[in-house]
């Protein structure tokens, strides 16, 4: 299966490890992964901040870039939701029928990582090893827009050595909310602090989510407070194996041969 990786601009720039882990994981499961260099951003920040008029070129770019793949995988529930829910709206608003058709063709092929693993590849045991106590935070867009349900936790439960702890108030928003974090910093920080307190109360070593943007907010608070919990993207847990628990090989380079 030829999989186009839509990494998202945040991961590309700030969290390349998540991208490398996603590639390592998907290749381990036999996918032919490509990262088309023409990709940029899904346009979510613009859309959600009230600049929807500016996203049309990004929507167009996405549809063109990923038209040729069997499946498009993204390690972000939030960007996945932007594409699924709002790219069709943006296309409709542009009045360009060809664009609307292109978007309608690509959207059904777009999957968030855990969705792709469970629904498309049909696996819940990806052969991972991660001997730590982990709390899973279902980010709002993974939970309520993408409706990931128990897919991420089903995957985590099958990770050897991993102890999944219950996160109190798991379904409450962490307070990131894109530009909310800077437009309403006090409420955002109050929400983040509650989330972190809950993770600490659960005795978690690692707070895991399917969205690095929320983890950037929580992680930034955690390092500022020098808390005992660290944040990690779901892909990085699922990519870890007994042979390579630290993911030392993910960033490896190679010549030519794939697989």
């Amino acid at each position: 299966m030829r999989v186009g990786l839509f990494l998202t601009c945040v991961n590309d720039t700030l969290y390349p490890r998540t991208g490398q882990a996603t590639v390592a994981l998907l290749e381990r499961l036999g996918c032919d992964v490509d990262f088309p260099l023409a990709q940029t951003c899904c346009g979510q920040m613009h859309w959600n901040t009230g600049y929807g008029r500016q996203v049309e070129p990004m929507v167009r770019g996405f549809a063109e870039t990923f038209a040729g793949y069997d499946a498009v995988v993204t390690p972000s529930g939030s960007c996945g939701a932007m594409i699924r829910d709002n790219h069709p709206r943006a296309a409709a608003r542009s009045g360009d029928a060809a664009l609307a058709d292109a978007v309608a063709a690509v959207v059904p092929k777009v999957h968030e990582l855990s969705e792709f693993l469970v629904d498309v590849l049909g696996v819940t045991d990806v052969g991972a090893y991660f001997p730590h106590r982990v709390a899973y935070h279902p980010t709002c867009h993974s939970l309520r827009l993408m409706r990931l349900g128990d897919r991420p936790t089903a995957l985590l439960r099958n990770v050897r050595g991993l102890e999944l702890v219950d996160l109190p108030g798991a379904e409450e928003c962490c307070g990131f909310g894109g530009t909310f974090a800077v437009k309403n910093p006090d409420v955002s920080a109050a929400m983040g602090a509650d989330k972190i307190r809950n993770a600490e109360a659960a005795g978690a070593e690692v707070l895991c989510a399917a969205d690095n943007s929320c983890l950037m907010h929580l992680g930034g608070m955690l390092t500022r407070r020098q808390g005992a919990v660290r944040t990690l993207h779901l892909a990085e847990i699922l990519a870890a194996t007994e042979a390579d628990p630290g993911g030392l090989t993910w960033a490896g380079v190679r010549n030519g041969a794939r697989g």
Binding site: L7, C9, N11, D12, T13, L14, P16, R17, G19, Q20, F35, L37, T40, C41, G43, H46, N48, T49, G50, Y51, R53, Q54, P57, M58, G61, C140, H141, R144, L145, E172, C173, F176, G177, G178, T179, F180, A181, V182, K183, N184, P185, D186, V187, S188, A189, A190, M191, G192, M216, H217, G219, G220, M221, R224, T249, G252, V253, R254, N255, G256
Partner: protein, 479 residues
């Protein structure tokens, strides 16, 4: 809608104060979490909730598409049943109509059932100017009125107060308004409710004029419906000789049968009950039962302009259950007062800027008073996509003047994102810049400072993913 409260700061500024008030945080957390769990249980009892919700939304949408027809039908039915119908284009007109109606009775006092519409138009203040005292009779409204406070929740206006604070307010203020609180009253909610019962009973028994809102107005029969818990509504609706009901034009539902949907959706969503203790319905006037004169005031006050907006229109489906407030993580931390309106929480964040416009600091900030987490949409019994409307209103705000810096920054970003080469260049510049400075706190005002006041910036890696990817297949080495 009544004006923005004088000196009302923007939402983020007002919310900052609230987040620093530990008592308020505790009160709100306790109350919203209590009701949240109970609502979920009450809703889970019905395995056809999704179908009820869809029908509720569909009935409201169809009603809105034919609002002119249904209002005329409702008017005719009320008049046929012996009632009088008045139309008020705005708050001032509604207040004038009610004031004149009360004056015509010769009375200087009215008893009131909690009603969002009369709060919206500032009726009590308008009556006071005309020398008419309005007594709020809902327990929470009484707490607000006696405490000279502002409401902070649709259903429970005194949600920001805990039992001890309420005890103190009753003890200090009840005597000034009528029967004082019993000596030695504790903060047990039962004793507080008893004090309210004693205090208000005398007012109910002598009242000649009642003022209410309504939850529903049935067009085919002209029937009004008030859903309540305490019985103060029944008192106001049945004991006075004259009843005046101020009802937003969006409250109309076409048929008596349609109530079968809303009387299931509303109680479970608002108080998490299978059914609220009391629901009163009346049609015009009835010989020998209840008021002899009934006046219905149909209120527009900005609703028709919401109707004109195809995305915003769904706001008018709202049945004011307050479920969206109770699940909202922002409301829980910011409290209701930060919204600067009688409509707080997620519904307030979309309703107020549509009713008042986005001219003031607080109104322009309301569409941003949300993380777009979607919890409100999930619980809304009439499926209002509040995040969708918020984003829609954000577009209106950004189209106004005054967003120059943000607009140009985001436009520049959009320009870069349009083209992978520009995007890569921007990415490199950002990485080089932040790595060179490696700041953990940014001192300059703006987004950077807002971020780093409470959080570290992520360390920017040496190499972006795309740079690595290009290197991966071309350079030598092992996988």
């Amino acid at each position: 809608m009544s004006a923005v409260p004088l000196g009302m700061p923007s939402f983020p500024d007002a919310a900052r104060e609230a987040t620093r008030n530990p008592t308020l945080r505790r009160n709100l957390r306790h109350a919203t979490h209590t009701i949240r769990d109970r609502r979920a249980a009450a809703v889970a009892e019905l395995d056809d909730w999704a179908e009820l919700r869809a029908a509720g939304a569909a009935i409201k949408d169809r009603t809105l598409r034919h609002l002119d027809t249904y209002l005329e039908q409702a008017e005719a039915a009320v008049v046929a049943a012996g009632g009088h119908v008045h139309w008020a284009a705005d708050a001032a007109e509604a207040n004038r109509i009610v004031t004149d109606l009360v004056r015509a009775t010769g009375e200087t006092e009215v008893v009131k059932v909690k009603s969002m519409a009369t709060q919206e138009i500032g009726l009590n203040e308008a009556l006071a100017e005309a020398g008419i005292t309005a007594y709020e009779t809902d327990l929470a409204e009484l707490i607000v009125q006696l405490g000279d406070d502002r409401p902070s929740h649709i259903l429970v206006p005194a949600i920001h107060r805990n039992r001890t604070e309420i005890r103190d307010i009753f003890r200090d203020a009840m005597g000034e308004w009528g029967i004082p609180a019993p000596d030695g009253m504790s903060d047990d909610p039962r004793e507080l409710a008893e004090a309210a019962r004693l205090h208000l009973r005398e007012k109910f028994l002598r009242a000649k004029v009642g003022v209410s809102g309504a939850n529903f107005l049935v067009a085919e029969t002209g029937t009004l419906v008030v859903v309540e818990s305490e019985g103060n509504g029944r008192m106001c609706l049945t004991l006075p000789e004259t009843l005046i009901s101020v009802v937003g034009i969006e409250k109309v539902v076409p048929t008596w049968r349609d109530l079968e949907v809303f009387l299931q959706l509303l109680p479970r969503s608002s108080t998490a009950e299978r059914m609220n203790p009391y629901t009163s319905t009346w049609t015009g006037v009835t010989d020998g039962d209840g008021p002899r004169a009934f006046h219905l005031v149909l209120l527009d006050n900005g609703r028709t302009s919401i109707l004109a907006d195809e995305v915003g229109r769904q706001t008018l489906r709202c049945i004011r259950c307050s479920a969206c407030l109770n699940v909202c993580p922002v409301y829980e931390r910011a409290g209701g007062h930060a919204y600067g309106s009688v409509y707080p929480g997620p519904i307030g964040a979309i309703l107020t800027p549509q009713l008042r416009g986005t001219g003031s600091a607080v109104d322009a900030s309301l569409p941003y008073a949300s993380t777009l987490c979607g919890a409100c949409y999930d619980v809304c019994p009439v499926a209002i996509d509040i995040p969708e409307v918020l984003v829609h209103l954000r577009e209106k705000v950004t189209a106004q003047r005054g967003h120059v810096i943000e607009r140009s920054a985001l436009r520049a970003a959009a320009w870069a994102m349009r083209d992978p080469k520009r995007y890569t260049a921007l990415q490199r510049a950002a990485a080089a810049g932040t790595r060179a400075l490696h700041p953990r706190r940014l001192p300059l005002p703006g987004w950077g400072k807002a971020w780093t006041d409470t959080r570290d910036l992520p360390a920017v890696p040496k190499e972006s993913f795309r740079t690595w990817w290009q290197r991966r297949d071309t350079s030598g080495g092992t996988k």
